[in-house]
Symmetry: C2
Subunit: 301 residues, 2 copies
């Protein structure tokens, strides 16, 4: 890692993001993974949508914070982005949130049809586990790889992200803040928390470092979701690249919808503090992780 022990700030964020962008498709190249044409097209379309790549950058930044090797972490970072991308494809389906636009472009099923979109999501989810299992680190240090892979599966699965999407579609009784945060924890924070913890595990961090990173990712995930919900109420299609104010129309349980914008803003501020507090055991080597908090808290799209 070039800057291990030094200060990893916004420049590192941009570099990590570029690294992810240029690596995402390589793990699916035809020599490694021969994919029938329409399925490949749909997977690549979804992967090259110009997302913020927050999750893989969090993984790489967390790994850097504990002194991990970038090349060891990269397959896992891309795998986390595959899992995130699969979840967007499936969430957008007509049977789910029925969204026509995502990041300013037609959603996967609008371009390729529902069947191909379902399969593209399935395939990205599955390939994530292949890429981790076939990574050089998995060969050299399988214990770390298997731990990281299990963590990602738990975060994405029925008790995590998939369960959160279920609760989002059919919210539990009551409109309390605890119900909202349980949904947000599963739907968004689980994957971000796992990304940070995976970086810590794969980078060789101590148990307490991994625990701190996990708490950081959890607070960051809740912050991410609440700012998303605030933007859904206040943003425009042009800014957001997707249809806005749909959550309210659908009667979804979100923090600003239930508690109002002022209270949502205060909760966001408190989560920002929680995320930074979780990083207190770290010095300058966690500066990129701190930058991510600022980027997420102040984003406008």
């Amino acid at each position: 890692m070039q800057a291990t022990g030094g200060t990893l700030g916004t420049a590192a964020f941009a570099r990590f993001r570029a690294l992810v962008e240029e690596s995402l498709l390589g793990f699916l190249s035809p020599d490694v993974c021969p994919i029938p044409a329409p399925l490949r097209d749909a997977m690549e379309y979804a992967l090259t949508s110009g997302g913020k790549r927050i999750r893989p950058v969090v993984l790489l930044s967390a790994g850097a914070a504990v002194g991990g090797e970038e090349k060891d972490l990269l397959p896992f970072a891309c795998s986390v982005e595959y899992v995130h991308t699969y979840s967007l494809i499936h969430d957008d389906l007509p049977a789910m949130d029925d969204d026509d636009y995502r990041r300013g472009r037609p959603t996967c099923h609008k371009v390729f049809g529902e069947a191909v979109a379902i399969l593209a999501g399935d395939a990205l989810l599955t390939e994530a586990f292949r890429v981790m299992g076939e990574s050089p680190l998995a060969g050299r240090d399988p214990a770390k790889a298997v731990r990281a892979s299990a963590l990602l599966a738990r975060a994405a699965g029925a008790s995590g992200m998939a369960g959160g999407q279920m609760m989002d579609l059919a919210p539990p009784a009551g409109e309390g803040v605890s119900a909202i945060e349980e949904i947000d924890l599963r739907k968004t924070a689980a994957l971000l928390s796992a990304s940070a913890a995976m970086g810590g595990i794969l980078g060789g961090g101590s148990g307490s470092q991994v625990e701190s990173l996990s708490r950081y990712g959890r607070a960051l995930g809740l912050l991410f979701q609440i700012t998303d919900d605030i933007l859904d109420e206040t943003g425009s299609f042009e800014e957001m690249g997707k249809t806005v104010a749909k959550d309210r129309a659908r009667g979804k349980l979100t923090y600003p919808a239930v508690r109002g914008m002022a209270e949502a803003g205060a909760r966001a501020e408190s989560l920002r503090g929680e995320a930074l507090q979780a990083l207190s055991p770290f010095g300058g080597e966690a500066e990129t992780l701190r930058d991510i908090v600022r980027i997420v808290a102040t984003r406008r799209s």
Copy 2:
């Protein structure tokens, strides 16, 4: 393994199947994996459909053939069945094969709706990788676990089963036997071949044993698909528990549809020989695997 080195025949098949039946839900129990109600119901409905459990039994039988420990293999066997079950749920969706019945019962989306069915498939696929990664063997011998997990991901992913379903929906140009067998290889044989090889790896088999088991599973998978296609042409709803003769109506590329029943029967016979031939390095310890060939070749539903 009780019968290691001895003869494992049809009695072992029944015992393995019962073991899988009684273990499938345990890895998803609420204390291990808290799942929101409708999602859990859909997953359990799909898992308790009374399938033949061929894939997990193949894995357990292959592990037994190389002297593996049953309790080490079981989480992996159940994971393979989760992956198979997810594929059935998604294949049956309206956007895919649009099937209303499966094994004599309404399909998952008919009972729970499309959104929950999509999520149940997603969640089963994901939980498969959690169960493998959190298994006792993964803690004790992570190298074996990571190899088996990567093999399953490759078999199920974009170049395997998901790719096969893509080609099944949009067949490649030409109606040659090679096109049919490429679809069947991906759609069915990849997962059966991986199941056999995983048993070999996890049970501690040698490289050449794993290779033999992989070839066995490949031939068994092609045999399974061709008998399925023959039954689709000749079986009744009562026998099959699903709508029959749909493949021909849909213009799907199958061996009997393209080459006729006689040639399909001859090909099945040849694949039966191939599967048995692949087991020639093994003695009585592979008897269950030989029984499975007979069971698959002579099944009537």
